[in-house]
């Protein structure tokens, strides 16, 4: 195992070295760093050109420039990385430190969300293969996949940004909007739930009625500007979750699992009140929030283990998922509480540019909301593309798993459909997906180049583009190195994950 990892790391270094050499030569030959000066009419332009030649080492041959860069990077081995300086004399290492956080935030959230959404849709479309839902999802997924990012971004800015902000000034649904949403829900939900024609019709009608009641109700409560959940709604949803997850993962007749999930909801309600004032202005910011979340998980595990009895494993799983989702709802409740105040500070919440509003000051929740609203558009755009990949891969690998002999055997011996899908088919279909996740993360950093450009973020992608356009090697190399390292690292992790998911593989 260790020798395997070591071997992989060594080959990774060789790959990175080759890639860096190639990219370096390509970058320094990609254009003319003196271009702007050559067309300048300044009196001292000759002098400026000489100066730029000397501080960018343009008079040195390519191998010597590469060597200068490489010796700086070699310092990483002893913990003193020198990424070099860009053409403005700024330290690229510091630039990376600044830009990496916003890029990673963007890419990380986009990856997580697209994995969740992509896998869920993938499973649903695989279960309902060749239904109209399957066709519709395939159509949209391919549409999103083939959208040029910068073009989609312009549309998103217009619809989700400008139009939404305009609407938010005096939020009011028109009857057309309500009916359209109602019709869409009435068609979509029965397609997902399935069942006999009669049952579908009924579900559709119920959904339509639901929308018809809820949307005007939200309007009258001014929900878009003053949203709230409150303990009652959270508890009701929590109980619903406890039942739903139990039914999905172990079956409702497994009372121990159901009771432990319900206990989790009860404890959650108590802790909602217990942490309420602490969370109004959490000391330590996100650290406190994450700390509380970890405590929640620990408590859930404890409840699952003590109450689970013979079904310990399932009880823990259901408890933990219930607790996590309950915690997310509590978090959402606090965000909603801060929303009206946030709108006072930032009347047009969805911005089209930047990773945060300059000079924004507010309490913890308001600052988080600011960063969150700035993330909405770029994350959506970045997600659209990779959701497509996940959906299609999950669907096809689910279908492949469902057609295996062991599934037929499982069905033949009378295992119920839920267990077949989640325990036998899903787990096996996850194996090829780990590879995709690994590739996708590195790919998304690359995809972030365009997204950052279009949304005016100062991430690594932007550093790359700016560097490349002026044939300035240091920033481009830093980007290459980090994306390359991420790609290699994630592939390694994927290989190790195989062993966890598939006991047949030994590394």
């Amino acid at each position: 195992m260790y020798s395997y990892v070591l071997k992989r790391l060594l080959s990774a270094i060789a790959v990175l070295f080759g890639a860096s050499l190639l990219v370096f030569v390509l970058v320094i030959n990609s254009g003319d760093p003196l271009q702007e000066l050559r067309e300048s009419n300044a009196e001292n332009v000759e002098f400026l050109i000489q100066q730029r030649i000397s501080f960018m080492n343009l008079d040195e041959p390519w191998y010597s420039r590469y060597w200068i860069w490489l010796t700086g990077i070699a310092g990483c081995a002893v913990g003193a990385c020198e990424f070099g300086t860009n053409m403005s004399g700024q330290d690229v290492g510091a630039m990376v430190a600044n830009s990496a956080s916003s890029t990673l935030r963007l890419v990380f959230i986009a990856t997580i969300l697209s994995i969740i959404i992509g896998i869920l849709t993938g499973i649903v479309t695989a279960i309902r293969q060749y239904s109209s839902l399957d066709y519709a999802v395939s159509f949209f997924v391919f549409l999103f996949f083939s959208l040029p990012v910068f073009w989609a971004a312009v549309l998103a800015k217009d619809w989700m940004g400008i139009t939404y902000n305009n609407w938010l000034r005096e939020p009011q649904f028109s009857w057309t909007q309500i009916i359209v949403v109602g019709v869409v829900a009435a068609i979509l939900v029965p397609l997902i739930i399935g069942g006999s024609a009669r049952r579908r019709l009924l579900t559709g009608a119920v959904m339509f009625g639901f929308v018809l009641v809820v949307m005007p109700l939200m309007d009258s409560l001014n929900y878009a500007r003053e949203p709230r959940l409150g303990p009652a709604v959270i508890t009701l949803l929590g109980i619903g979750l406890a039942f739903g997850l139990t039914a999905l993962l172990s079956g409702l007749n497994n009372r121990r699992v159901l009771y432990s999930a319900l206990t989790v909801v009860g404890v959650g309600l108590v802790s909602y009140y217990a942490t309420f004032w602490l969370l109004i202005e959490p000391p330590g910011g996100w650290l406190t929030v994450i700390g509380l979340f970890l405590v929640t998980i620990a408590v859930a595990v404890l409840i699952g283990r003590t109450m689970g009895g013979h079904a310990k494993g399932q009880a823990v799983a259901v408890s933990v998922i219930t607790a996590s989702l309950f915690a997310v709802m509590v978090l959402l409740d606090h965000f909603m509480r801060a929303w009206p105040g946030f709108l006072g500070l930032k009347p047009r919440p969805i911005a089209t540019i930047g990773s945060s509003s300059p000079n924004f000051s507010g309490d913890f929740w308001e600052v988080a909301l600011d960063q969150g609203t700035q993330l909405v558009l770029p994350t959506t755009i970045l997600m659209l593309v990779s959701v497509a990949t996940y959906t299609r891969y999950t669907r096809s690998s689910m279908l492949e798993a469902v057609n295996q002999d062991y599934i037929r055997t499982a069905r033949a011996k009378g295992v119920n459909e839920r267990t077949v899908v989640f325990k036998h088919a899903f787990r096996n279909s996850m194996i090829p997906l780990t590879t995709i996740v690994a590739f996708d993360f590195a790919g998304l950093i690359g995809g972030a180049v365009v997204v950052e450009q279009v949304f005016g973020w100062s991430g690594m992608g932007n550093m790359f583009v700016t560097g490349l356009s002026s044939s300035d090697p240091a920033p481009v190399m830093a980007f290459t190195l980090i994306t390359g390292a991420a790609a290699v690292l994630f592939n390694l992790i994927a290989d190790l994950m195989y062993a966890v998911l598939d006991p047949r593989i030994r590394v």
Partner: protein
């Protein structure tokens, strides 16, 4: 170049998207018509002299000339205005090193430093009388006396004195060298040190100094402007201010070494971190406040400012690709922006006319065709150059490519003066007789026949990809091929690069633009024999003499006479063919007063301290 291509593509697609999203085209058009009729009336009654005023722009004080209006009655409003000039990041407080110097950095640092003058909207130099005054006190030797205003001080309370201007001279003086014989100070210009050998004379603590030129100098007015704080530099290099001044005056390079070291690097910080507050005092209406690397830089009203209060508490420079400006303006993320000057952008801004003021103007950048005098068919034959000039459809190029962006655009008929400048008409009237106003394909064909040069290949080189230049070449080809030339589009990415066609001489005509600096003598580098920017290898003794004369003439009227002489020679010889001045577009929120566009390099932020949102 890549960047520009990408953003151009984004812009094109952006319009496509807007058309697709179909945002109420009818309403927009209706409004536009209504606005048009009222525009006509305005045009007749207002009669504003400033070519850069925009329809719908409000002013607290109407500008009277191309300089800044008097806004002494403004009070600073607790407010924030966001502006973007593009995505190029701010670099540093000291914008006078080659690493940090750029038009973009200057748009910020020129807001925090004031000096003896500034460029008006037509790129003409205005004296800044609030800051101080200057006058020529002797013609021989040519000596100028500067007086700094009594209450002019740094934001840390230290008065601005002669010592600051001694430092100003030091860092532009290449004769101060280290042991390796390299200049101590890593400054962008050395002209000051070459022209003024002794530096500013006067009591270092005083407010008055004189500088003596070794010979009269045409651009003397812009030689001394703003400076960096000498007291900070002295403190950081463990010297008394007195000692620093003495060291500079005595050229004591050993003592100056730590001074230069701090000046070169001391203000250079990592992106997102500003130097300590006490290191960066300012003389202007704003101070550097908050820098988010790659995203924004906020400048805040200088509480200790000695002059008129700025209109708005905070100006936020955001570093955003210019392809994104229009939507950001619409969403209010930007309040003032300078998107790409394209037909599409214009259309988008026009559609937002009840929200955004469209500023259309001209940059001090101009497009031209230059002949290759080193070799090729044009190098020897004036007749062929004339034939080429006769068939180039200049008016058509302007009508098809420039007027859609700037309807006021016209063909440029001079090189040393641009269409928006005051003396342009006078200079053109006396130097150019209108020979090449109309395309004369037949005349050109006759010359080609007579010269036995039918079928002459003309490679027009430019730095591509550049759609506008490609279109320009296509227009020329359509017209000149008919006359008997064979035009070849030789645009390539490395046209100006090392080993590119410009360097190897593989072109007959070069198509590019010069970014005008406003200096009087900057043309000397382009048109005089063997000068570095005389790419085509042009040589004309009369022009050389006239430029030498111009460089040492400080009287504006005499300068104009000499420029007329130069233009006559350049038209007679057909050095090249000027085409047009580049258009520029800016947009500003309709609620903000006093926004004006300008041809100078600072662009629309040049008077940012006068901006104020109407309540």
């Amino acid at each position: 170049m890549k960047l520009r291509k990408l953003s151009a593509a984004t812009a094109i697609l952006a319009t496509g998207a807007l058309v697709l999203s179909g945002c109420t085209p009818d309403g927009g058009n209706g409004d536009a018509e209504a606005e048009d009729t009222s525009n006509g009336e305005n045009g007749e009654t207002s009669g504003n002299t400033d070519a850069f005023s925009a329809e719908g722009q409000q002013y607290t004080t109407e500008p009277e000339d191309t300089g800044k209006a008097d806004t002494s009655d403004l009070e600073t409003m607790e407010d924030e205005i966001s502006v973007s000039m593009g995505e190029i990041e701010f670099v540093g407080y000291n914008g006078s090193t080659p690493e940090s110097y750029s038009v973009y950095n200057s748009t910020v640092v020129n807001r925090i430093f004031e000096g003896f003058g500034y460029w008006g909207t037509d790129n003409v130099w205005y004296a800044n009388e609030d800051f101080g005054s200057y006058e020529v006190i002797s013609e021989d030797p040519f000596t100028v006396e500067y007086t700094i205003g009594e209450d002019v001080s740094w934001s840390d309370g230290t008065p601005v004195t002669v010592a600051d201007y001694v430092l100003d001279w030091a860092y532009q003086n290449a004769s101060l060298t280290n042991s390796d014989d390299e200049p101590l100070f890593n400054g962008i210009s050395q002209t000051y040190g070459e022209r003024v050998l002794e530096g500013p004379q006067g009591d270092p603590d005083g407010k008055t100094f004189t500088i003596e030129y070794s010979e009269p100098f045409a651009d003397w007015e812009i030689m001394v402007n703003s400076t960096l704080p000498a007291h900070v530099v002295a403190e950081q290099s463990d010297l008394e201010l007195e000692e620093l001044v003495t060291a500079v005056r005595e050229a004591d390079t050993e003592a100056l070494e730590p001074v230069a070291e701090f000046w070169n690097d001391g203000w250079l910080t990592d992106p997102g971190t500003l130097p300590d507050e006490e290191l960066i005092p300012v003389t202007g209406p704003y101070t550097l406040d908050n820098w988010q690397a790659g995203e924004s830089l906020t400048i805040t009203a200088n509480e200790e400012y000695w002059g008129n209060a700025p209109g708005t508490e905070r100006i936020v420079f955001r570093f955003v690709n210019d392809g994104q400006h229009v939507q950001a303006l619409e969403n209010g993320d930007l309040n003032v922006a300078r998107p790409q000057a394209t037909v599409d952008t214009r259309g988008q801004l026009e559609r937002l006319e009840d929200q955004i003021v469209l500023h259309e103007g001209e940059a001090a950048t101009w497009e031209h065709l230059d002949f290759n005098f080193n070799d090729g068919p044009f190098s020897e034959s004036l007749e062929l150059r004339e034939a080429f000039a006769m068939c180039v459809p200049r008016q058509q190029i302007v009508s098809n490519l420039i007027e859609p962006v700037n309807p006021e655009a016209s063909v440029l008929n001079a090189r040393e003066s641009l269409t928006f400048e005051e003396n342009y008409e006078d200079i053109v009237a006396e130097s150019y007789d209108g020979t090449y106003d109309e395309v004369d394909v037949e005349g050109a064909a006759e010359i080609l026949e007579a010269e036995d040069a039918v079928g002459t290949e003309v490679r027009i080189g430019y730095a591509g990809p550049n759609p506008r230049r490609t279109d320009t070449v296509a227009e020329i080809k359509a017209s000149c091929d008919e006359a008997g030339f064979e035009i070849v589009d030789s645009g390539s990415e490395d046209f100006f690069g090392p080993g590119g066609a410009q360097e190897t001489g593989d072109y007959e005509v070069a198509l590019f633009a010069w970014a005008g600096s406003g200096q009087v003598v900057s043309g000397q580098n382009i048109y005089s024999t063997d000068r570095p920017q005389n790419y085509g290898g042009y040589s004309n003794e009369t022009v050389d003499d006239l430029f030498n004369q111009l460089a040492t003439t400080e009287d504006a009227d005499e300068q104009q006479e000499i420029i007329i002489g130069i233009e006559q020679e350049l038209w007679g010889d057909l050095f090249g063919i000027p085409l047009y001045v580049h258009p520029q577009l800016s947009g500003s929120d309709i609620s903000i007063s006093n926004v004006r566009d300008t041809a100078s390099q600072d662009q629309i932020v040049w008077n940012a301290e006068q901006w104020q949102r109407a309540e």
